[in-house]
Subunit: 348 residues, 2 copies
Amino acid sequence: MKESIGIKQIAKLAEVSIGTVDRVLHNRGGVSKITEQRILDVVKKTGYKKNTVASRLRLGTHKKVKIAVLIPEATDNWGYWELPKKGMDKAAEELKDHGIEITYFYFSDPLVFMSMSRKMLSTHFDGIVTVPFFTPESDRLFRKAREKKVPVVFLDTRITLGHPGYFICQDAHQAGLVAGRLLHGLVGEGVYIVLNIVNAKGLHENNRQRENGFREFLNAVNRKGKIEVYTINYPLNQPLEAIPDVAKLLKDERSKGVFVTNSRAYMLPPVFRRYGVTDVPVVGFDLNKENMECLKREEIAFLINQKPEYQGYNAIKGLFKFLTEEDASELHVDIPVEIVVKENLHIF
Amino acid sequence: MKESIGIKQIAKLAEVSIGTVDRVLHNRGGVSKITEQRILDVVKKTGYKKNTVASRLRLGTHKKVKIAVLIPEATDNWGYWELPKKGMDKAAEELKDHGIEITYFYFSDPLVFMSMSRKMLSTHFDGIVTVPFFTPESDRLFRKAREKKVPVVFLDTRITLGHPGYFICQDAHQAGLVAGRLLHGLVGEGVYIVLNIVNAKGLHENNRQRENGFREFLNAVNRKGKIEVYTINYPLNQPLEAIPDVAKLLKDERSKGVFVTNSRAYMLPPVFRRYGVTDVPVVGFDLNKENMECLKREEIAFLINQKPEYQGYNAIKGLFKFLTEEDASELHVDIPVEIVVKENLHIF
DNA sequence: CTGAAAGCGCTTACAG
DNA sequence: CTGAAAGCGCTTACAG
């Protein structure tokens, strides 16, 4: 790490002014082929890297990097979406002096998602962060943004797009495998129940993939054919014990374990108590208050954390880095499948 | 986030020059009480925060932050210590333009630790990162550094010092509790074995605390008195099956699970094979190559990761932040007790 | 097509 | 005790 050369030495070596060097470095045009080549040669030979601190001092105060964030309303899903936002605010705070400006937009359904998308695209933003709950609408936003060369970072859920996009999310299928491993370790042979929430929008992609992973794991270990897996899709906002299927399965003493593919595992323990069900471990997702209480009371065995704050933090940090240094390396983030038990809870 | 005021506006509001403002801000002295107070009032009123980017452009090129790192030789412990170093190098790379310089020192035993300590303290360093394997020696380094107002950050192991220090490490007792939870979930009642490595230096603090945590957990769940825990302290570099205690216990069919308090869990599966032991789950520490192979082959059930790279990265980032912004918030880091199974392995 | 100059906000050496 | 000026490395508006 020798005294790293700066733009000034590049200029001297190429026998031009620093202004011309900068023009080449930023493809601002208006430089003759011959001098351009000379400069590029020197840049290459010296391994010049711009001083990001100096660059940002200059740029940060002149023009901020503007990022638009479009996430679900906080009313949705126990305020889960406040957590990524918290992470994004933290990142923004850290990048304050580097020049960043985040504008938040919120959606509740595909229509609002689309109208917010339009609003974001008509204003000038350097980058967009959003959540692809609605595949066709997300794809449309992605395509339009692409035409304008505005990068889009998707959080939480992976969907298939026409072109490769930036995703910061947990591998839901893998999370399902892990859940299978954990529950099978506690339960062994017997009947497993997968509990999905189905709301008006149908089953979320993540939930589907989690179930698939879970079933794949159990299938692989089911050598003696003594493992059975039943899926229950229950409608949100309906008491669990009112649903015949659920009641029947929970009362069945062969039932050995339950995998809740969403963040509402905490709904089970009261039902268990009501039916006198004991020793049926539950594996669920997300560290909401209710789930954490259940974990502490050992009514839930394992929770899987998606690290929502970390997702948001990374999205902003990574996008900023991409926009200022053309480095996209931090925009493909596989969120670890973080396993949480009662004993390692408080540190998250 | 209004146009944050800078030192220039502070100077104008306090009717002094920016030089004087800076003198007050940095306690450089030579300012009359009255102007000092006037400036401090304005600073307070406006909520001025220095622009770290500008500050670092200026300082980063003039005087680098110099950090000394004293860690175990890489030959020790399967090159575990290359990992924190890797994290530190990554942090240094990110802070390159901000002006940082890391010098590495290595130790193998208390004597070398002491002589390196002396060397570090006689040179001028702004901060020190080290690993407190040897309590009295570490305490001495800590005290000497404290006299010189040089902050010390300890990695890996928590020890008790005369004054509160900065530690970036996993709570070993908590990790033991987690191990207890995991192994008990797989095993239930029966005989548990705790395997410690004892080398010339005796049992490491971390191993002791892990065992304590493990025993505490099993004790708490041992309501019917059907759980027994045996500890084996075996000398490093001796074949496991050659030790009578180990052989006896492993052959005992009541043995249900083994907790290896160090990073050598991979030594067990070959012994198991030799004695025809099956279905005895193993929980161990650290993601070294051998352990990961065993995890993949399902010969180890769970590994606990101490995130060594992350420890190193955080130490440098946190120390740099403390040295440049007097913000010590990132120097107390509780490393999560990260639970790793076969299915969530590859993402780490 | 190219250069010289101003300035981002902070820090410090120098002059008074 | 205080101020004016130079400069960190980069970027850009302006002049030629």
